[in-house]
Symmetry: C2
Subunit: 149 residues, 2 copies
Amino acid sequence: AMPSAAGHADGEGSPIFGVTIPENYRQWEMIAPSQEDGSFNELRAILGNAISVKAYREGTLPFPDGAILVKLAWKRVPSPEFGGAFVPGHATTVQIMVKDSKRYAFTGGWGFGRFVDGQPVDRAQHETCFGCHQANVKEHDFVFTRLAP
Amino acid sequence: AMPSAAGHADGEGSPIFGVTIPENYRQWEMIAPSQEDGSFNELRAILGNAISVKAYREGTLPFPDGAILVKLAWKRVPSPEFGGAFVPGHATTVQIMVKDSKRYAFTGGWGFGRFVDGQPVDRAQHETCFGCHQANVKEHDFVFTRLAP
Ligand code: HEC
Ligand code: HEC
């Protein structure tokens, strides 16, 4: 296993960044849900570890080292039980951003990882992460998601 | 303050049920996000206390006494930073279900509370809760939401 930015040595790390899936992330506090239209057609939820949640609540930018954000995504499917409601279908990707301002100095201090069924996707996909976050949310430390009230 | 089914005496309880907003629920584990179309046009997230999360993970039905589910809802607004993505706008309602099989024996063991800006809505609205949950998800202990993978 690669050394892990997320302090967790199990599982394979992402190309370029060596980010792995953090332990117990499913128990982390929810930052916000989100949804994407079009061909994605997904429901999503962004969870954060304690360091990131503290930074959100206190409005600290840039996020401090050790902050980790995890975005869970599922296909958006109609509720079988109630018309007009949509619920998570099968899980598609788990995406991770880990703040380590030294190690990831060339990508805004963030290391990126995208996983499908627990396995990191290829290098080419990981070359796209920072570009998009930089182009759109540079002024918010490269993070789209705001803390939902 | 009314005596609270959620073990928390602050704030006004809901009509009929006396359910109050539990402390620290925003830190609870996320069960699932959801979305509703039409005039609601909302993003939602259902959070659960430790008793409810354990029941979900172990597949325990009916939910044991002490289980609490909280549904947060926000207007669904387009991300100002990325076309095709939708994010939480202003908060609309906080809705709560508290399991107490004795106290709420006549409504499937669940007490209901709907809050807007921290205040419970009127009695008439609270008369609708159980009817809808009973009509649609009686076989799942009156709970729509499944644990998202
Ligand atoms: C084409 C644009 C684009 C690319 C490429 C992209 N992202 Fe994002 N990312 C977004 C948008 C938009 C959001 C916020 C909306 C949402 O919730 O999906 C987001 C949100 C995230 C979040 C939640 C934190 C935040 O910034 O809101 C993580 C984690 C994340 N992306 C990781 C990745 C990883 C890892 C990659 C590459 C493997 C990647 N992203 C590539 C557009 C992109
Ligand atoms: C017309 C139907 C309807 C009525 C009336 C209704 N609900 Fe629900 N409720 C739903 C549906 C559908 C869901 C699941 C979809 C979603 O996430 O919004 C849900 C979900 C919930 C949840 C999350 C747990 C679960 O069952 O999934 C809570 C808590 C809840 N409702 C509370 C209330 C309260 C409190 C009231 C009354 C003040 C109420 N509901 C009235 C349809 C209804």
